[in-house]
């Protein structure tokens, strides 16, 4: 097959973080294939793609498109050459409509005056052409994440890209949305598009890709045909050692109730109830999994428990004490920890450095503070220890956090929240965007916290994660608990039925039907 893209000897060194992000990387993609690019957090995948898209200038190396050498100094060049990129963190204007976002920069106009009707029509036509329905006049800020991604894809298609780069497109999607995306990608490849698909989920690689390339520590480790490889082999190439995909999970020894929510009601941003009369308990030494399709009140429930959103009814108890009126800082001070789902907006402050991010809500501790003065040395040591313990690539004490790779940012959040022996941990999508090795590590850390007696509320849209970690599982549907299951006996099917709004009786019936 003809080569659509050839990158040769790409090297990129970032002096500010002293990282060799790409080390003499060779990367080739055939025309019309779906090519998966995998690798650990910080392996250099995004950097390589940013170079291809003209966002980052390489120190050396050459790029060939259809056999011709090209120089790409700016995204404009990439767009002109038919390269389109859907970024790891979406780049949309929230107050603009779908059509306005898709046509941004290439608006149809007469003497500079917009032709808004044409714009909407063009987008409707485009959506139809690719079988990706969208409402051109809907505002992007009102769209669920999966829809926003579709807008990003259409944006790239509208610019007549031939090569599409999708950087971790599935990290923020629900399993349903992932299935839909995979269908879309396969379909685009059939239409002749060349697609580069970055992901951490090897299962997806097996489903979506024709070939797969593996990066580790800035180097290209090799390229395989998907049909000739297996998940364990890819995992080994990525991490450089055997990955235990099975966790060791000791018997739960639940103790006292650490956290309780009683008849909790929470309004969503639009004023409709997002959580309604919901009650749950979490005990010491147990993990309560909250499953559900995203958008069924998880965000609001978690924010209310963490103290970021006022309750509209009901009571919260921590260690038997009512905490309704306590603010975030006070709750954290008592021993609650929170891994938020959005690391960029909520979890971190990208303007502050790593140390500052790590000691938020702890800077008053005598350990870091003497009579109002911060103890620099102790803070440095603390952040060094977290960097080491969580192997945060590219990070150094006092260094910038904005330049970390997505997965490594997540590790900073997880590291901060799990250090300091919290008694109750709210973990909302704790492994979003992490590589297999890091997922394994975070899972193990959560299990260790459980063994030490912490109660954990695990909210995740990944069924695997819920099933392998939880002791009990509740399924959230339209802001209420649709049913509770014992994790030891629950099946994926049962959870699926509850997630879709079915009841346990139905579950039982369908099981029986399946058995007969």
């Amino acid at each position: 097959m003809a080569l659509a893209l050839e990158m040769k000897g790409i090297t990129k060194y970032f002096p500010s973080s002293d990282v060799l992000a790409n080390n003499n990387v060779d990367f080739t993609v055939e025309a019309g294939e779906v090519h998966a690019l995998v690798g650990e957090n910080g392996a250099g995948k995004t950097t390589l793609m940013n170079i291809l898209y003209g966002l980052v200038k390489p120190d050396s190396g050459e790029i060939f498109l259809d056999g011709n050498k090209v120089s790409i100094g700016h995204p404009d060049d990439a767009i002109r050459l038919g390269i389109g990129m859907v970024h790891q963190h979406f780049k949309l204007v929230p107050s603009f409509t779908v059509a306005q976002n898709i046509m941004l920069g290439i608006e149809p106009s007469t003497f500079g005056v917009l032709r808004q009707r044409d714009e909407n029509e063009a987008v409707a036509r485009l959506a139809e052409q690719y079988g990706l329905p969208v409402d051109p006049t809907a505002h992007v800020r009102d769209l669920p994440v999966g829809m926003q991604q579709r807008v990003e894809i259409l944006k790239v298609l509208q610019r007549e890209a031939k090569i599409l780069i999708l950087d971790e497109p599935t990290a923020v999607l629900t399993p349903q949305e992932v299935g839909e995306l995979i269908r879309i990608v396969r379909n685009l490849s059939k239409l002749g598009y060349t697609i580069i698909f970055i992901t951490h989920k090897l299962v997806e690689v097996m489903h979506v890709a024709d070939r797969v390339s593996v990066m580790r520590g800035g180097r290209m480790m090799g390229t395989k045909k998907v049909s000739d490889t297996s998940i364990p082999e890819l995992a080994r190439m990525m991490v450089g050692r055997e990955v235990i995909l099975q966790l060791e999970k000791p018997e739960a020894r639940p103790g006292e109730v650490v956290f309780e929510a009683k008849d909790v009601t929470v309004a969503s941003a639009s004023g409709v109830p997002a959580v309604l009369n919901l009650s749950l308990q979490v005990r010491e030494g147990e993990i309560l999994g909250v499953a559900g399709v995203s958008g069924n009140g998880q965000t609001e429930l978690v924010e209310a428990i963490a103290g970021m959103r006022p309750l509209d009814g009901g009571k919260l108890y921590f260690l038997g004490k009512e905490i309704n009126r306590l603010d975030v800082y006070q709750r954290r001070h008592l021993g609650m920890a929170h891994i938020p789902e959005d690391r960029i907006q909520v979890g971190l402050n990208l303007e502050a450095n790593l140390d500052e991010n790590l000691i938020v809500s702890r800077y008053k501790l005598p350990r870091f503070n003497r009579m109002g003065f911060l103890l620099r040395r102790a803070i440095r040591d603390f952040s060094a220890s977290i960097i080491e313990k969580f192997s945060i690539a590219g990070a150094r004490p006092g260094g910038s956090i904005a330049t970390l790779s997505g997965g490594n940012m997540q590790k900073v959040v997880v590291g901060r929240e799990l250090s300091g022996n919290p008694k109750f941990i709210i973990a909302n999508q704790p492994t979003r965007g992490l590589d297999v090795g890091s997922i394994e590590f975070v899972h193990q850390t959560l299990l260790d916290a459980r063994a030490e007696g912490a109660g954990i509320l695990l909210v995740s849209v990944e069924l695997d994660e819920i099933m392998s970690l939880s002791d009990r599982i509740v399924v959230l549907y339209r802001g209420q608990i649709q049913g509770e299951l014992d994790a030891a006996t629950a099946t994926e099917e049962e959870i699926g039925i509850l997630m879709a709004g079915g009841t346990l009786q139905e579950t039982a019936r369908s099981m029986k039907a399946a058995a007969s």
Partner: protein, 331 residues
């Protein structure tokens, strides 16, 4: 008696519209900058500079219009300088603005003294005020004519500018790019929009508008320059832009409101025994109130939504099924 109050009312409206003009011009510039994501706190200084240059050039050249043009060019150049320092050296715009505001206040006082030997204020009989325009069509409409007719071209230009800016921001390609840069600069840049160009444009235009507002003070409304002539109008303009959601038309009306507050303060001094200091406080006080309103607006909105939600929960006919339509999360 009835007739007498009518005349007073018209006078109040007329002077309100006049006094609103510098605020409106600067506020439109401020709104444009906010839309482009560059905070422009230097409106006050640029306005003062405009006031000073317009009258000084008018005096030396003997032509008021040239004075206004030079003032606007100076405002635009300052905007260009801001853009350059901001983009090239990443200088903090806020610090830059504060420094500039102080510098210009002192410089104008200095030059007034050096050139004309005056400390508090200066004028010269040779200077021509910008003439008022009689618009034949408007003049003959009974009530409206009295309110809308007989201002100088700067007043009419400020109306035109509001409409033009509205059209540019919401109906042209370039305006769409301005808004995109202001809201998500990265998104704009990844599709090839030159955010520097957009922000530079905003800073230059807003500098010109603020300077024109200043020129209106010294050669449009009066023909005199006084120390600190802008007297906080640049800051009021920023408030007006914020309260108007950076929407040109809403900003225009907020500016108009502030103009009326100004006019009212003047009127109060003439017709009552209120100490002048207290009366002069009125415009500043209104600005403060509006600022507080800006801050509260969002809070109040949220509170009302919550109130509505809770009553809706308590009302018996709401079945839990109906009330629990899935509210999509903010994720």
């Amino acid at each position: 008696m009835g007739n007498f109050t009518d005349i007073l009312t018209f006078q109040l409206l007329n002077s309100g519209i006049r006094l609103a003009t510098p605020i409106i011009l600067a506020a439109l510039g401020g709104a444009l900058c906010n839309r482009a994501g560059v905070l422009n706190l230097a409106l006050e200084g640029k306005m003062l500079l405009g006031a000073f240059l317009a009258i000084v050039v008018a005096f030396y050249v003997g032509n008021t219009y040239i004075g206004i043009v030079i003032a606007m060019m100076a405002g635009g150049l300052l905007g260009l300088l801001f853009a350059f320092l901001y983009h090239r050296y990443e200088v903090d715009l806020i610090i830059l603005a504060i420094a500039l505001n102080m510098l210009i206040l002192e410089l104008t006082v200095y030059f007034m003294r050096v050139l004309f030997g005056q400390v508090g204020s200066w004028s010269d009989p040779s200077i021509q005020r910008v003439p008022d325009i009689q618009i034949p069509v408007l003049k003959n409409i009974p009530v409206l004519g009295d309110i809308l007719n007989g201002y100088n071209f700067i007043v009419y230009f400020s109306w035109f500018a509001a409409i033009a800016l509205y059209f540019i921001l919401f109906h042209t390609k370039f305006g769409r790019h301005v808004r995109a840069v202001g809201e998500n600069k990265e998104a704009a840049e990844t599709v090839g929009i030159n955010s520097r160009r957009v922000q530079t444009f905003a800073l230059v235009i807003s500098g010109m508008l603020a300077a024109m507002g200043g020129a209106f003070l010294s050669v449009g409304h009066l023909k005199l320059f006084t120390r600190n002539m802008s007297n906080g109008r640049g800051w009021t303009a920023i408030t007006a832009a914020l309260f108007g959601f950076n929407h040109p038309i809403a900003t225009f009306f907020t500016g108009l409101f502030f103009g009326f507050a100004d006019a009212f303060a003047v009127r109060i001094q003439n017709v009552t025994d209120l100490p002048p200091n207290l009366a002069q406080l009125i415009p500043h006080f209104t600005t403060l109130v509006v600022l507080v309103l800006v801050a509260l607006r969002e809070k109040v909105g949220q509170m009302l939504a919550r109130r509505r939600f809770q009553t809706q929960l308590q009302s018996p006919q709401t079945s839990p099924e109906g009330a629990t339509s899935p509210a999509s999360g903010t994720d």
